[in-house]
């Protein structure tokens, strides 16, 4: 049986793993390679490395750490941030990443998803979506350039429409980051994830809000997502991965041994 995936996300800035609350006040957590190795050993099913400054800073980011990770890690990993062209993606994949994730550049140029699909195949094209619930309008809206608060902007896309669009263009997986929940550890946005799930025929990964073990049970059982991504609860040791996986197995959720 296909297992639900537990995915630690490591936000990377200048070669270090960092974490901010609601995308702000980034603090350094540690070095990338030992942290990645530690998570793999603890039973993480996959890792996401998100270069949070890349898309916003408009600079060439040193990605040599991708090779160093590929050399030591024996679980799949995805690299996000700053991938604007097919050539950018190719370099990351050649360095040994299994998947690349695009977010802001795909919003700027949706055709990028199509080109990535046609060049490298659907299996390695992940689209990250930062979705914000606007209480005034009652709508979920896609935000762009969320790595830099001064550049963050609301796009014209409603989340559900963008989810449909990226699938049509060849996305192999969608990571939905629910911004209102991010970093506050009050649980995943079940209502939104459930609504998106109904319109998503590719794997869907929940992101934003994990704070307790039961939040993972809820998101798998109620929103039927394929994977749950989290950062601070793992980095700060609030939820040890082996303990989480044992707990989820007790709830009859398919989890890898």
């Amino acid at each position: 049986m296909l297992a639900r995936r537990i995915i630690p996300c490591l936000d990377v800035k200048d070669g270090k793993v960092v974490k901010g609350v609601k995308f702000r006040n980034h603090e350094i957590i540690g070095d990338i390679v030992p942290l990645a190795q530690q998570y793999a050993e603890q039973g993480a099913d996959e890792l996401v490395f998100y270069d949070i400054t890349a898309s916003s800073d408009q600079r060439v980011v040193d990605k040599s750490w991708v090779t160093r990770i590929a050399q030591v890690i024996d679980i799949p990993f995805c690299v996000a941030g700053g991938i604007k062209t097919v050539a950018d993606a190719g370099k990351i994949l050649e360095m040994g990443a299994d998947k690349i994730s695009v977010n802001s550049p795909a919003l700027a140029d949706p055709e990028l998803i199509t080109r990535l699909h046609d060049t490298y195949g659907q299996q390695c094209v992940v689209v990250g979506i930062d979705s914000f619930f606007n209480a005034e309008t009652g709508k979920y809206q896609v935000h762009q350039y969320t790595g830099d608060e001064s550049r963050t902007q609301v796009t014209a896309w409603e989340t559900a429409d963008w989810v449909k669009e990226v699938q049509k263009r060849g996305a192999g997986e969608i990571v939905l980051n629910c911004m209102n929940q991010d970093g506050v550890r009050k649980g995943y946005d079940i209502a939104q994830l459930k609504a998106i799930r109904a319109n998503c025929t590719v794997p869907l990964i929940a992101s934003g809000g994990a704070g307790e073990k039961v939040h993972f049970t809820d998101v798998f059982q109620q929103a039927d997502v394929d994977g749950a991504l989290a950062a601070s609860v793992f980095h700060k040791g609030i939820i040890p991965i082996p303990e989480l996986k044992a707990y989820l197995r007790e709830q009859d959720i398919a989890i890898r041994d």
């Binding site: 679980i75 299996q123 997986e173 590719v202």
Partner: protein
């Protein structure tokens, strides 16, 4: 003992070559990536990796004039993911009617029919090997391996291990010196390393 072997990864021009190379190197074994027919022919063990689409990969192999080289190999060959799919006769993954593959193992690659389930089949799934499958020595039945694919080869006499995702399909194939795995052993943690070790020690 194994260090003296010549292990070669066929440079199919696909993107996951370095991850396969690193995985073999983690076993303490030297490995060469090559598209030189001489180097491939004289290897003790050959890996045929692949990700992407069957038509693009076959076009790359043809362009590098490696088709007959791979077909004539008599040493153990392990196809990984798309590399396994290239070992059968034909693939439905094509810009035309069908893509002609290497024809090393009887079988057809077809798009998976999984009902309401999601495609690609992405993530860790349990694999059931047949009795005494050499590549699965020391690996518990129902161990989890990492898969990413939307096309698959059905169950046949050449199925060495099976997997289920909306349908039963071949997780591994074997005929004579040709072995193939649909999953990614290079990304399947300890059991994946064990499988690669088993292949190298054949």
């Amino acid at each position: 003992m194994t260090k003296a072997q010549q292990i070669v990864i066929v440079n199919t021009g696909c993107a996951n070559i370095s991850s396969v190379k690193f995985a073999v190197e983690r076993l303490g074994v030297n490995v060469t990536v090559s598209d030189d027919t001489q180097v491939i022919q004289t290897a003790d063990k050959v890996f045929l990796p692949g990700v992407g689409s069957a038509n693009a990969a076959m076009a790359s192999i043809k362009q590098k004039q490696l088709v007959s080289c791979v077909q004539k190999l008599t040493q153990p060959v392990l196809g990984i993911c798309l590399g396994m799919q290239l070992m059968v006769e034909a693939s439905e993954e094509s810009l035309t009617e069908s893509t002609e593959c290497l024809g090393l193992i009887p079988g057809q690659v077809k798009r998976m029919q999984v009902g309401d389930l999601r495609l690609p089949h992405m993530g860790w799934n349990t694999v059931t090997p047949v009795a005494d499958a050499p590549l699965f020595k020391g690996i518990d039945a129902n161990s989890y391996f990492y898969f990413v694919h939307s096309f698959a080869v059905g169950i046949s006499d050449f199925t060495m291990a099976s997997c289920q995702y909306g349908m039963d399909f071949s997780a591994a194939l074997h005929k004579d010196n040709f072995f193939g795995v649909q999953f990614h052993p290079e990304r399947s943690s300890d059991v994946g390393s064990q499988l690669l070790k088993n292949f190298i020690e054949l």
